[in-house]
């Protein structure tokens, strides 16, 4: 972070200089105000200025300013223009009263829109206009009324495509912050559940929301996150990935130090555990802080299904991660260094299939892995129907052809395929790419040092992981600084009754999570039995 701090320090100074220029206040003369706004928003042809006059003799000039396309025209037509121009004639406050306190008049009598506020800062007014609000200027009044009229074309709530589950909610986040916060709010109706908003990005002025439950969250963690968010000084935030990379601890690491998710239920669950979620406007991905390696292997479904099945799936995923990491490298190590360690029949078979292959095992594996990565990358870019075709062409035909042409051995194709499938079964996409990346390092190590190379790779990777922290929380958390009740939700997912407390590693304020119904029941049964025994005696 030292590097970033230095970076931020310089920029903060710039900021300080910028603050010397005070933003102009709203003047009484409407022409001056409009002129300022027109100057600032010169050459922006999507801004609409609508002048109109009200009053018995049309003596009051009013002007609406808004961005075409960002506002809901219905609100403006029905609830602003219509009210002001037609309905207001029926209620007649005196002219002086209007001049004195137009805001009150409008609020009380004229505008039937839902959400309005009054500001006197022209720059703030411009930001509001550009966010999709409508500004209402009135001649002779030194304040401007901001009418919330945001409404634009947006994608509707759709299933989260990268995190599908069989059982569980089908809602995924969209690109609109307000919709996303509402999606989470629907899961948690606690008054202590906070959605704290701020704007980041000097030019983009992106809305960012921090989601947490006030009496659960660890206050140190909260202030640390706020601190780091404040330090960000960048022109624009385009995706949650920007925030992730700007506030993470170690930018050398291939591992994601924040979990990103499209699922509101996952965010709600994390917030209930005492974590903090960050939602970013224009991004359907929420960030969850802090994140450990174990949480990357959790899927919401684990908690909805029965615990034995979920535990089996967890074990499967951890195994899949090891295969995704070391599958090809184990093949390389065994075939080129330790053929004596595989069963003799299999060793002979491998040797016979590799007979015509002109490359060493490492090159063979590298070719297949690279081909596969290419196919995967191409599959993402291509339109969906063609993408599927590429999958079939790539997976079946190229594999088959490569074997027939004698470039790779059939076993290699199997290894690559199993590795690929394994890497897809890790719930977090960012974790899966980290393993994909490290796979190549492992292959190289195996090619040079065989099985010892793989072990060395594991040692180096684990060293990196034990050093790594996500906002003060050790990245391998429940596995290091061992805590049994936390371990119950890692490689296995213990029955829900076990999780009576929130994860102790998060050090939350409110530690209790549920009442121990079962043991109470057992106790009461025992008491009953004792009572009846007593009676018998």
């Amino acid at each position: 972070m030292g590097f970033f701090n230095k970076l931020f320090k310089n920029k903060n100074n710039d900021n300080g200089e910028g603050k010397d220029v005070e933003s102009p206040k709203v003047k009484e003369d409407i022409e001056e105000n409009i002129k300022y706004i027109k100057d600032m928003l010169k050459d922006s042809d999507d801004i609409i200025y609508r002048e109109f006059w009200v009053g018995e003799e049309f003596q009051h000039k009013l002007e609406l300013v808004f961005v075409d396309g960002l506002v809901d025209k219905g609100i403006i037509n029905e609830h602003v223009m219509h009210s002001l121009m037609l309905d207001s004639r029926q209620a007649r406050p005196s002219i002086d009263e209007i001049k004195k306190n137009i805001y009150e008049v409008i609020k009380k009598a004229a505008i039937t829109g839902g959400d309005i506020k009054e500001i006197d800062d022209l720059d703030k007014c411009i930001t509001s206009i550009l966010s999709g609000d409508t500004a209402l200027f009135l001649d002779g009044h030194s304040k401007v009324v901001i009418i919330s009229s945001r409404g634009w074309q947006m994608r509707s709530v759709a299933p989260p495509e990268t995190e599908m589950v069989v059982r569980g909610a089908r809602e995924g986040f969209t690109e609109t912050l307000r919709v996303n916060t509402a999606l989470v709010r629907r899961w948690i109706r606690d008054p202590k559940f906070k959605i704290k908003q701020m704007q980041i990005g000097k030019r983009s002025k992106t809305d960012i929301a921090l989601l947490y439950i006030d009496d659960i969250v660890n206050k140190d963690l909260l202030s640390l996150i706020k601190e780091r968010l404040k330090q960000i000084d960048i022109d624009g935030i385009l995706e949650s990935g920007y925030i992730e990379q700007l506030i993470e601890e170690d930018w050398h690491s291939p591992f994601p130090q924040m979990l990103n998710t499209e699922r509101p239920d996952k965010v709600a669950a994390s917030v209930l555990e005492g974590r903090i979620a960050i939602l970013i406007d224009n991004s359907p991905f929420a960030l969850i802080i802090p994140t450990t390696l174990a949480t990357l292997f959790q899927s919401p479904e684990d908690y909805f299904e029965r615990w034995m099945i979920s535990s089996l799936l967890r074990i499967l995923r951890f195994t899949a991660a090891i295969i995704a990491l070391a599958g090809p490298s184990i093949y390389i190590a065994f075939t080129s260094y330790h053929p004596g360690m595989i069963p003799t029949k299999l060793a002979l078979y491998i040797a016979s299939t590799r007979q015509g292959v002109p490359f060493p095992a490492f090159m063979e594996a590298l070719i297949m892995e690279a081909t596969f990565e290419l196919l995967r990358e191409a599959g993402i870019r291509l339109p969906v129907p063609i993408g599927q075709t590429i999958g079939i062409v790539g997976g079946l035909i190229i594999g088959q052809a490569a074997v027939m042409a004698g470039i790779v051995s059939p076993l290699m194709v199997i290894v690559v395929a199993v590795t690929a499938v394994s890497s897809f079964s890790i719930p977090s996409y960012s974790a899966a790419i980290a393993f994909r990346l490290l796979r190549f390092a492992f292959m190289l190590l195996a090619a040079v040092l065989g099985l010892y190379g793989i072990m060395l790779g594991f040692i180096l990777m684990l060293t990196h992981l034990v050093v790594l922290k996500s906002f003060g929380l050790p990245y391998l958390s429940p596995f290091v600084e061992i805590n049994l009740s936390d371990l119950a939700d890692t490689i296995i997912r213990a029955p829900l009754m076990v999780f009576k407390k929130r994860p102790p590693t998060l050090d939350t304020q409110d530690k209790k999570r549920m009442k121990d119904l079962r043991s109470e029941k057992i106790e009461s049964v025992e008491v009953d039995r004792r009572d009846s025994n007593d009676k018998k005696q």
């Binding site: 140190d220 963690l221 929380l473």
Partner: protein, 364 residues
């Protein structure tokens, strides 16, 4: 939750001690005890472990009187400055010797079992740099690493022997205790070599969050490693008999080779054991490397121990290359036992006596 005090808990200490003691020596342990005590190998391990435990407790007793200081600082108060400096240098050399011995034995085994054509130097230097990578970050990551690797090492090692339970001939352990007390004592002393590693207690006390479980955690780590050693020695001598065991260099690998795991993909399980053993050696090497670096940094009053990690690499490396052959390695190891004798038995007793006398004096 947000803590970065570079301290380890007492539970972590327990695991750290276990993984430090479990090192390269485990491969030859059954042969050592079979040579020393014949069929009474198990008794020797048990007694040797208990002796080591007693002296570990003595060391921790002395160190716990000065919980914020390492050996370098508190020995100065107990046994005057010049002696303290001299002993510290010996202690550093002592840590380096065992670091390099572990490294060399690992190199030899890896070369003969895994990488026949790779030069031993490459194997050693890569592991040494991996150790330097973690030692630079201090004791917290080292003990976390131990925590991660502990189940990875112990669980498979215990499971792997289970299919061989029918091959054990219990008569291999007879006759019980028909051994001269002198030979028994010598055997116990030799076994202590397998428990080397707890000497890091001399220097790591300032980095432990001391509570009231210190004694318990030291006991737990010793009893678990005694059990672990007993387990593997029981199987090795039980299957091979003490005569066959004692003539082998690494009987543990041989015995695993003979085990046929039903329905398992890998034919020779020694690859699995080699992998586990790599972790075991790594945890020992990194702990010794850390202890040496830390003592050196305290001796020359360096601000950070991390600057001294890299300079020690060539030292360890060349020390590891001194023995000409594997036979000589074990010869050197037996010489090092004399140093062990001093640091494990003589020095703790001496220091605890001084501390006790002085404390008694203060009370009066």
């Amino acid at each position: 939750m947000i803590k970065n005090n570079d301290k380890i808990s007492e539970n972590q200490l327990s695991i750290l001690l276990f993984t430090t003691m479990l090192g390269a020596g485990v491969l030859s342990l059954p042969a050592d005890v079979a040579k020393a005590a014949g069929p009474n190998g198990l008794i020797v391990i048990l007694l040797g472990g208990l002796v080591a435990l007693v002296f570990a407790r003595v060391i921790s007793y002395v160190a716990s009187k000065f919980p914020t200081e390492t050996f370098v600082e508190y020995s100065e108060k107990i046994i005057t400055k010049p002696v303290s400096i001299l002993l510290t240098i010996f202690l550093i050399v002592y840590f380096l010797i065992f670091c390099s011995l572990n490294l060399r034995i690992f190199g030899e085994v890896a070369k003969s079992y895994l990488l026949n054509s790779t030069p031993i130097e490459v194997i050693m230097i890569t592991l040494l740099f991996a150790s330097a990578y973690i030692v630079r970050y201090g004791i917290e990551p080292i003990s976390r690493m131990s925590e991660i690797l502990f189940p990875v090492m112990v669980i498979p090692a215990i499971i792997i022997f289970l299919p061989a339970i029918t091959d054990i001939d219990l008569s291999n352990f007879l006759p019980i205790l028909r051994i001269s007390p002198l030979r028994l004592a010598k055997g116990i002393l030799q076994t202590t070599y397998s428990f080397i590693g707890f000497e890091i207690l001399y220097v790591i006390f300032p980095y432990i969050q001391l509570g009231n479980k210190l004694k318990k955690s030291i006991n737990v780590s010793f009893f678990s490693i005694i059990f672990f050693y007993l387990y593997i020695t029981f199987f090795t001598i039980g299957i091979f008999g003490y005569k066959e065991t004692s003539v082998q260099l690494w009987p543990l690998l041989t015995v695993i080779k003979s085990i046929n795991f039903p329905g398992f993909f890998i034919e020779n399980l020694e690859s699995l054991i080699m992998g586990i053993w790599t972790f075991a050696v790594f945890t020992s090497i990194s702990a010794f490397h850390y202890a040496a670096t830390l003592s050196l940094s305290k001796l020359i009053k360096a601000r950070e121990h991390s600057y001294l990690v890299i300079p020690l690499i060539p030292v360890i490396y060349f020390m590891a290359l001194i023995p000409e052959s594997i036979v000589e390695v074990y010869k050197y190891a037996s010489y090092a036992t004399y140093l062990t004798l001093f640091f494990v038995i003589v020095l703790p007793l001496l220091m605890s006596a001084i501390v006790k006398l002085r404390h008694g004096g203060e009370r009066q």
